[in-house]
Amino acid sequence: MFTTGFKFFFGLFAAFCAAALVYGYTTGGNHVGPLSLGWKGGVGDHIGYGVLVALAGVSLTISLVLVSFRDADAAAQAHLQNLAEVLTDQPVAASFWPVVASFGVGAAAVGLVLHPMVFVLGLAVIVLSMVEWTMDAWADRATGDTAVNRELRNRIMAPIEIPVVGALGVGVIVLAASRILLTVSKLEAVAVAGVVSALILGGAWVYASRPGLGRRLVRVLGTVGALLLLIGGVLAAVAGEREFHPHTDDTHEESVEPTGGEHGG
C-alpha cells in the first residue's frame, strides 16, 4: 500500500514539521502561529522556520509523487511487466557501512570523553555512514536485478564519492608527506622527495608500459605505499618538526621555536 520511498519521505515530512514547531516556539513563536504557518500568531525566527517548513513541503511532495507512481512496489511492477509472480526477496548486498557506522559511534563515545575533535570526527563518520547506508538500502530494492541495482546506486553516489574520497586521499597524502619533509633535515627532505617522486614516476611508467600487469599487484603495492606514507606521517607528526632558521635583517640566521606552518630556509 505505502511504498518504501513514501514511508521514508513522509517520515522526513513529519520530522521537519516537528522541528519547525519546536524551532518556532523556542524562538519567540506565540499562540498557534507555528501551527498555522503564522496565520494566528507569530512563528518566531522567520528564516529558520521558513526553511524547515519548506523542507517539510518538499518531503511531502516527493512522498506523494513516490506513492502515486508506486515506486518500489513489487506488485505494481509485476503487473506492468505482465509477470506471473511478484519478485520480492532481493538478496541484500554486502556492505561495510554498518561497520563504519559502528566505529563512528565508538569514536564519538571515546571523543566525548577524550577530545572534541574525535567526537566531531565520529559524528561525521556516522552521518556519512547513514547516507551511504540509506542509498545501499534503497538500491537493494530498486529493481529485481542486483547488478542493475548496483549500477543505479553507483550512478547516484559515484559522482559524490569519487571527488570526496579523492580530495580526502590527496589531503592525507599532502599532510603525511609534509609532516615527513618537515621532520627530517633539509638535505634528507630533498632526498626523500626525490626518491619518492622517482618511485611514483617509475611505477606509473611501468604500469603504463605493461598494461597486462596484475591489478591485484598494483593494488597491493598502492596499499603498501599508502600505509607506509601514513605511518611515516604519523611518526613524523609525533617526532615534531625540525628547527628552522629564518633569515632576518640583522642577522643571517636565528634559531627560533618551531611553529606550525612556518617555512624557513
Binding site: F69, Q77, D89, A101, L152
Partner: protein
C-alpha cells in the same frame, strides 16, 4: 529500466509471502566476500550470529576467570584488595564480572543464536534488517572493548575510595561503553523481533511460531521495555559525573553509580536473560526425544508469562527507600510468581519426554542433558528469588542476590551449548562434539549449582547486608565451595568456547545446511 521497477515489499517481507518468489541472483551478486572481508561486510544473519556466539563464548572464558579470582578473594587465602591492587580495583572487577556476564556473554550469546535460527524457523530467507544485525554486532564489540579497556584503566561503575581525574574519565568511558553495548543489543533485538512479526511464512500465525522464536520475540520485547531504563540511568549518571549535575546522585567517589545500575543484574530484571532459555530447552527436549508438545499454546503462554515477570525497569530502589519498593507487594509478587512458569515449563518438558522415545542414547543426548541442566539451574535461581523476597528471611541485600544471578547466567551459558548442538545446521557449523558438549554441560551445571548453593547459604549466615561477601566470618568453607563452583564454571565456559571454535572451523555451506 526505471527507478520504479519491482522491489521488496513494503514490510521487507519474507520469501514466500503472498506467493512471492526469490529471483535468481546474478553471477556478480553471487560472488561472496572473501573470508577475511566477510565479518565486516556480510549481510547473512547466520554469519553475524556465529560472530556473536564465538565472541561471547570467548568473553565468557575471560569473565569466568575474573569470577575465579573474585572467589579466591572471598577465601582467606588472599586478601581481596591484594589480589587486584586495592579496594577500588576489587570493586571494579566485582562489578565488571556481573555486567560482563549479562551484557557481554549471555545476552549476546542467545541473540547470536536467534539471528541464525529465527529466520529459518519462521520461513524467512534472512532477518528483517541484515545490515542492522551486522551493525549490532560491531557496535556491541566496540562497546565491549571500550568497557574492558576503561575498567582496566581505572574506570568502572563507581569507586569506593575516591577517584583521580583520569579515573573519572575512564569511568565516563565505561558508562558510554555500557550504553553502546545496550543500544547494540536492542538493535539486535529489534531485528529479531521484526523478523518474527513481519517476515513469517504465509499462513503462520504468531501462535504457530516455534517455541524458540516465540521466546526470542518475548525476550526482545522485554529487553526493549527494560534496557532503555538503564540507558536513562546512564545518562543521569554521566551528566553527574561530568560536572553538570543532573540529579546529583552519581557521585564518583562512592559506589552510587553501581547502586543506580545494580537493578539490572538483580531480580526481576535479571530474568530477561533467561527468557530465550525456555524456548531453547523446550525445543531441545523435543528434538532429543523426537516429540512435539500436545499443548503448544500452553508453552506460548508460559514463556509470555515469564517474560512479563522479567520486566524490571521499575524495580530500582535507588531513588526510593528500599523498604518502600522491595518490601512492597508488587516486588514480592513478582519474586514469588517467577517460579510458577518455570514449574509449568518443566511439566511441559516432562510431557515431551513421556511422549517421546525414551532410549538411553536419547535421554543422554547433549540437548536433553543441557535442557534439563538449564531448567534445573533456572528453577533453582527462581526458587532462591522467591525466598529472597520473603521479608522475614532477611535475604534481600545478601549474597542470595548473586545466587539468583549465578543460576540465571549459567543456565544461559548451558542453553548456548545446547543451541550449538541443536541448531548446527542453522548456524552453518559442524555439530558440537558430544564429548565436549556433555563435559561443558556437566561442568557448568556443577559449577552453577555450587555457586547458587554457597551464595544462598552465605546469605542466610550473613548478620547484616553484605553484597560483596567480604565480611562473612565463619563461612570459610562456603567460600571454598564458591571458589570450586567458579572454577567449574570457568572450565565449562572454556570447554564450550573450545567446542564452538572447533565447530566453527568446519562451517557447513548454507545450501547443505538447508
Amino acid at each position: 529500466m526505471t527507478l520504479t521497477e519491482p522491489a521488496i515489499a513494503d514490510s521487507e517481507a519474507a520469501p514466500g509471502a503472498g506467493g512471492a518468489t526469490a529471483p535468481e541472483p546474478s553471477d556478480e551478486a553471487a560472488a561472496a566476500p572473501s573470508i577475511l572481508a566477510q565479518p565486516f561486510v556480510t549481510s547473512d544473519a547466520a554469519a553475524v550470529g556465529r560472530l556473536f556466539v564465538l565472541t561471547s563464548l570467548l568473553l565468557a572464558v575471560g569473565t569466568s576467570v575474573v569470577g575465579v579470582l573474585l572467589s579466591l578473594g572471598r577465601t582467606e587465602a588472599v586478601a581481596p584488595w591484594d589480589l587486584f591492587g586495592g579496594f577500588n580495583a576489587y570493586f571494579r572487577m566485582w562489578t565488571l564480572y556481573r555486567m560482563s556476564f549479562m551484557l557481554l556473554v549471555v545476552m549476546p550469546l542467545l541473540l547470536g543464536v536467534a539471528l541464525a535460527v529465527v529466520p529459518t524457523q519462521v520461513g524467512a530467507g534472512n532477518v528483517a534488517f541484515p545490515r542492522a544485525a551486522l551493525a549490532s554486532f560491531w557496535s556491541w564489540l566496540i562497546g565491549a572493548v571500550i568497557i574492558v579497556v576503561s575498567v582496566l584503566a581505572g574506570g568502572g561503575w563507581g569507586a569506593i575510595d575516591g577517584v583521580t581525574g583520569n579515573e573519572s574519565d575512564a569511568m565516563a568511558l565505561t558508562l558510554l561503553g555500557t550504553g553502546m553495548v545496550i543500544v547494540a543489543l536492542m538493535l539486535g533485538a529489534v531485528t529479531v523481533a521484526t523478523t518474527v512479526i513481519s517476515s513469517r511464512q504465509t499462513g503462520m500465525s504468531l501462535l504457530d511460531v516455534p517455541p524458540f522464536s516465540w521466546s526470542m520475540l518475548v525476550a526482545a520485547a522485554v529487553w526493549l521495555f527494560t534496557l532503555p531504563v538503564a540507558i536513562a540511568n546512564l545518562v543521569v549518571i554521566y551528566a553527574d559525573l561530568r560536572g553538570r549535575p543532573a540529579i546529583a546522585f552519581g557521585r564518583a567517589e562512592s559506589p552510587d553509580i553501581w547502586l543506580q545500575l545494580d537493578w539490572l543484574v538483580e531480580q526481576p530484571a535479571v530474568y530477561i536473560m533467561a527468557v530465550p532459555v525456555l524456548g531453547i530447552a523446550v525445543e531441545a527436549v523435543g528434538a532429543a526425544v523426537g516429540a512435539r508438545s500436545s499443548r503448544p499454546e500452553a508453552i506460548t503462554v508460559i514463556v509470555g508469562l515469564f517474560g512479563l515477570l522479567a520486566v524490571g525497569g521499575w524495580s530500582q530502589d535507588y531513588f526510593t527507600a528500599p523498604q518502600d519498593l522491595r518490601d512492597g507487594l508488587v516486588y514480592v509478587a513478582f519474586g514469588l510468581a517467577a517460579v510458577l512458569p518455570l514449574v509449568a515449563l518443566a511439566g511441559g518438558a516432562a510431557e515431551l519426554v513421556l511422549r517421546g522415545t525414551k532410549t538411553p542414547d536419547r535421554l543422554l543426548d547433549v540437548r536433553m542433558m543441557g535442557a534439563g541442566a538449564a531448567l534445573k539451574l533456572l528453577g533453582a535461581a527462581a526458587l532462591v528469588g522467591a525466598l529472597r523476597v520473603i521479608e522475614p528471611l532477611d535475604l534481600l541485600e545478601t549474597t542470595a542476590t548473586w545466587a539468583v544471578f549465578h543460576g540465571v547466567v549459567v543456565a544461559g551459558l548451558i542453553a548456548g551449548v545446547v543451541a550449538l548442538r541443536n541448531w548446527s545446521h542453522e548456524l552453518q557449523i559442524s555439530p558440537l562434539s558430544v564429548v565436549v558438549g556433555r563435559g561443558a554441560v556437566a561442568l557448568l551445571l556443577g559449577g552453577g549449582g555450587l555457586l547458587v548453593l554457597s551464595d544462598l547459604i552465605s546469605g542466610f549466615l550473613a548478620d547484616a547486608p553484605d553484597l560483596m561477601a567480604l565480611a562473612l566470618d565463619g563461612s570459610a568453607a562456603l567460600n571454598v565451595v564458591a571458589l570450586a563452583g567458579s572454577v567449574l564454571v570457568a572450565a565449562g565456559a572454556a570447554a564450550a568456547a573450545v567446542g564452538a571454535v572447533s565447530a566453527l572451523r568446519t562451517p557447513v555451506p548454507a545450501g547443505e545446511a538447508a
